[in-house]
Symmetry: D2
Subunit: 314 residues, 4 copies
C-alpha cells in the first residue's frame, strides 16, 4: 500500500492505494482514526463510496450550490463593458438571481480572436457585483492568475480545455475558494471525477461538477449535451452537478428546453449565457438568451424544479 | 432539374431536384398544382420547410402519436410468453396505457443469442392486445416479414441497426401502417430524416422519429442519449418525435430521470422498457423498469407534460 | 451449456456456450470428435483461438485472397455502362489485376440519388469480366438479391450500412460463395467479427474482413481510416483482412499513401476505386483514382509488399 | 481589417483579418513589404497557402526534423534513473539514433500516480545525453517550467492534454527552442494547426506537429491512430509531421506495423517508446518496445523510407 496524506481546509485524510485485502477494522480502531472506508473507484475523496452525504458549496450571504436546491447562474460569455455589466445585474436583480457568470480571460482557438478584458474587467465587475450582492463565477486559465484573481472571484471556473491541466488543478487545491470544473471537450465522466480528485486532494473540498456537452460526430449541434452524465455523476460523487445548456446545444432557441431537461435529469444547478443584445455579444451570441428569454427560463426552471422535488427520484 | 413523382396514400407530389433558380410562381400557377415550396434541405417531404403543420399519426380508437400530446409506449424488450404478455397488459390497463412495445424478431450481435418468438409470439400477443384495446409497436427486421406481420401490427419499428436498410425502408413505404424509425447507432440527425424521406417518398406518410442514444467514446452509459436531437428534429420536420430512455442510458435506476428530461426537451412521446420481473427478462433486464417504477413514471410523465404545456417553448 | 450445431460447406461443429468449467479432454475423447478448443471470445468459429492457421479464400483460376499474399481489388464505385466496364478491364489487364469491384445496387442516403444499374448491369459486367478472366466483387443489399445475383458474382460484398443486417448475414451463410464484410459505419472490431460469425455459423466459411474507415468527430476526411484494426483483426481471427483507402480517407490525392500505409499495417489486400475519368463518375469521384494513378499505385503496393515480406513482423 | 503584428525570431509579419476584397498588389508594392499572400484558412502563418516550402527544424550538430528526411525519436515513457538513461543511450548509439524522448513531468489522470523525477531527472538526463551527442525531447506542462527547463531541452513537447492550453502556447512562442505539439485527445486537425499558430504568432517558428491517436468509441486499441491526418497536415501546412504509434495503438506487438504505416502515410518522423525492460517500466509498459524490437524497427523504418523516397507520392 502506498499511502498519501491529504490535508484540506476541512480535514485530514490518509489515502492508501494497493491491492492486498486486510481487515479495515484494525486500522479503524487506531488512535486518531475517525472513520475508514473502502473505495473501489479510481477517485477516492470525491467518491460517494467514501462520503454519502451530499456536499453543499456555500458562497456566503446565504447563497449556495447544493443538492436539494436549484442554483441558477447566468450572464454573458464575455465581460465587455461597465454598461453591459450594469444591464445584466439589473436583469438579475429583477429575477432574484444571485450568481453571475462571465469571462475576463477567454480561451480562444485562434490567437487572433478577442481574449477578454483581463484583470481590469474583473475588478470593475467585482465592484458592481459586490454592491448588488451578486456572486462571481469566472474562468481561470493558468496558475499565475489564481493569486491575482483571488480577491475578486467567488467561484473559479475550470474550462473544458483545462479539465486535465493538472498543474492548474493542483494549485486550485491550495485556494480556499469554490471551484466549478467543466467536463473536458471529450472528457469521460471518470476523468472529470479524477480532475475533481486533484483539487480535493490538493486541499480544497469546495467543488462543483459541470456537464457542458461533449464532442461527437453529430454536427447539427455545437456539442452533444450528455444529460446521462447527471444521474451518473450524482450517483458516483457527493459533489453538486450543474448543467450548461448554452454550450451543450449551442443554439439559442433550444437552450430553454435543454435547461429544463437538465433540471429533470437531476441537476443541482443550471448555468446559461444571457446578454442584453445577444446578436451584438463579443462571443457566443448564437447560444445566448436575451433578458426576456432569460426571465422566462428562470421562472420555468423554478417551477419545474418545484415539481421535481415532489417526485420520488433517485 | 430531375423530377421524381411521389404518390403516397395521402397525396401526389413532384420533387424537382436541381440548382437553377426560377420563379416558382410559374409552376404554382399551372393546372393541377395545389401548392409549391422551395426546400433547401436534402430531405424534402419530411421537412418543415415543405409542411409546417405537425403530422398526427392516428392509430385508431382515438389513440395517436402527435405534437401537443404525450404518447407513452411501454412493454418488455422481448415478448417471452403468454403469461408475461398478460401481466404487462394488466399493468398497462391499470395505468391507462394504450401502446405496447415488445420484440418478436430480435436483432442480436451474436448468432448464438435468443432471437425472439417470431410470428407465433406476435399472433399470441396480437390476440391479447386486441382484446385489451392496446396497440402493438414491434420491430420488423427484413422485407419478407412486412407482409406476414402486417395484420398483427399497429406500428412497425425500424431498429437502430436498420435505419439505413434502404430496401426495408422502400418496402415500408408501400405499407399503409405507421412506422417508427429509430436513429442509427451512430446515425446523424440528417440521416434519420433522409431515412424517413425514403419511407415517405415510397408512399407512406405515417412516420414517427425516435431518439434512442448514439454511440460515443463515453462508456459509463450504454449509449449517449442525445436530447439535443429532440428540439432539432422538431424544428426541421413536421413528424412527431419520441424518446427511448431505456436504450438511451441503459441503466434501470436512471431511466425515469432521462424519460422526464426527454419530455422537457420537447418529445411527443416516451418509449421505455418494463417487465414484471426485470432481473428475469430474456434481454435488456438491466435497463427495464418493474411495474411499480413504470406506474410511477407514467404518472410523472403526465404531470411534467401538463406543466410543459403551460410553458411558452418553441 | 447451450449447444449449437453448425454445419458449413466444409465441416460440422458443435458450439457450447456456458460458464461451468469442465475437463475438455473428456469430450475430446468421444467418438467422432476430431478436435476441441476453448474460445473465450464472444465469436467462436472466426476466432484465431479456435483456428490458428490463416484461412485462404480461393476464387478459382488461381486467384485468392489470403495471408501471405497481396490482393489488389479495383474498379469504379458504380457500374455505369458497357464502355466504362471495357475501359476498366483493359486497364486491369495491363496491370495484371484480376479482381474488379463495382456497384450495381447502390445504397444511397437520399431516395432521390442514382441507385445503380441493377441486374442488367451485373449481367453485362459478368459477360465482359468472365471473358477477361476477371473476378467480380459487388455489393448485395438484401436477401432477395442473393439468388438472382448468385451466378454472376465471385465475392458478395456486405456494405458498411449492412454489417449488422443479420437476416442478410444469415442468408449469405447458406451461399457457397465468398463474402467480403465491411466494418460498420461506426462498428466496433468486435461487432465485425460477430457479423462474420453469423455468416460462418450459417454455413459459409469463405469470409473476408474489410476496414473502410469509421465515423468520428473529425471532418477533414470522409471517414477515419482505422489502420489499428488491421493488426488487431489479424491477431484475433484467421480470416484475411483488406483495407479500403478510398472510403477510408475520401480524398483522391491521398488514397495512394493510405493504401500503402494499409499494406504496412499488415493488410492481405487493398480495395480502391478507379475510373477512366473520375470527375465524370456517377458517384464517389472525389475519392477515385484515374488509370495512371491506379497503375502507379498497383506497382507501389507490390513493391512495398515485397519489402514487407522480408520483415519479421507479427 | 484588424491587423496583428507578429515578430518572430526569424521575421516580421502583418496579419490582416477581415472580409472585404481588395487588390493585394497595392499593399505588396508598399515600402518594406517583401511578400504578401491571401490565406483563407483560419490559421495563417503555419499554412501552406502562405509558405509553400517545407520548414526544416534544425536541432544543431546536423540533426534535424524535416520533410524529405526521417526522424526517429525514441526512449522511455518516463525518465526513471541514471542506469535506465545510460542503457537507453547505449541502445541509441548502437543504432545511430540521435533524438531521445522521455518524461520528467508526467501528466497523470490520477493525483496519486507517479508524476516524474522533475528537474533533477532532467539535469541528470541532460548531462548524459549531451556527452553522447543526443538531443532531448520532453514534455513541458506549465508556463513556470519553461524557464527552468530551457537550458536542458532541445525540443519542448506539448502533450495531448495541453494542445489547447493557450497560455502555455503563448509562452512557448517566446522561447527560441523547437516545440513538438501533439494533437489533442479529441482534437481536430484544424485545432492542431490553430495551436501551432499560437506558438508561431507568439514568435517561435520552430514547430513540429504530431499525430498520436484520437479518442473514438473503439476500445480495442488505446486510441485510434488517425493516419489520414498525416497527408492532410502535410498538405495544409509547411511544418514537419511526426507520428507516435505507441500512444496511437497502445499495444506493444503492433507498434512496429503502425510505425511503418505512418512512414508510408507520409510522416517526416516517428516517435515511439522503448525501454530495456518494458514490463518493469514505471508507465506505459504495455506499449513500449524492448531494445531488440526497437533496433529492428529502426532498421525497417529506414528501409521503408528509402523505398518511399523512390515513389512519386504527394
Amino acid at each position: 500500500y502506498t499511502v498519501t496524506e491529504v490535508k484540506t481546509q476541512v480535514g485530514a485524510y490518509l489515502i492508501g492505494i494497493g491491492k492486498k485485502a486486510f481487515d479495515i477494522r484494525k486500522i479503524g480502531a487506531l488512535d486518531g482514526i475517525q472513520d475508514i472506508h473502502i473505495v473501489s473507484d479510481e477517485y477516492k475523496l470525491v467518491s460517494k463510496k467514501w462520503k454519502v452525504k451530499p456536499t453543499s458549496i456555500d458562497l456566503g450571504d446565504g447563497i449556495a450550490i447544493k443538492d436539494g436546491d436549484m442554483a441558477i447562474i447566468t450572464g454573458p460569455c464575455s465581460i465587455e463593458s461597465e454598461e453591459q455589466i450594469v444591464k445584466v445585474i439589473e436583469h438579475m436583480k429583477e429575477n432574484n438571481l444571485t450568481m453571475m457568470r462571465g469571462g475576463v480571460f477567454k480561451p480562444r482557438s485562434s490567437p487572433y480572436a478577442f481574449r477578454g478584458l483581463g484583470m481590469e474587467g474583473l475588478k470593475l465587475w467585482y465592484r458592481l457585483a459586490k454592491e448588488a450582492g451578486i456572486k462571481i463565477v469566472t474562468e481561470v486559465m493558468q496558475v499565475s492568475q489564481i493569486e491575482e484573481m483571488y480577491d475578486y472571484v467567488d467561484v473559479f471556473q475550470v474550462g473544458a480545455r483545462n479539465t486535465q491541466n493538472f498543474n492548474l488543478l493542483d494549485e486550485l487545491g491550495k485556494a480556499d475558494k469554490a471551484v466549478l470544473i467543466k467536463r473536458g471537450i471529450s472528457g469521460t465522466i471518470e476523468e472529470l471525477l479524477q480532475s475533481a480528485e486533484y483539487v480535493f486532494s490538493g486541499g480544497n473540498e469546495k467543488l462543483i461538477l459541470c456537464e457542458r456537452g461533449i464532442r461527437t460526430y453529430e454536427k447539427a449541434s455545437r456539442n452533444t449535451l450528455d444529460l446521462n452524465a447527471v444521474p451518473i455523476l450524482k450517483s458516483k460523487s457527493h459533489l453538486p452537478v450543474v448543467v450548461d445548456p448554452s454550450h451543450g446545444i449551442g443554439i439559442r432557441e433550444f437552450v430553454p428546453q435543454m435547461a429544463l431537461a437538465g433540471v429533470m435529469a437531476g441537476a443541482d444547478g443550471i448555468i446559461y449565457e444571457s446578454h442584453e443584445n445577444p446578436d451584438k455579444a463579443y462571443s457566443d451570441g448564437q447560444q445566448t438568451l436575451n433578458f426576456a428569454q432569460s426571465s422566462l427560463l428562470a421562472e420555468q426552471i423554478r417551477k419545474i424544479f418545484a415539481m421535481r422535488k415532489t417526485f420520488d427520484l433517485l
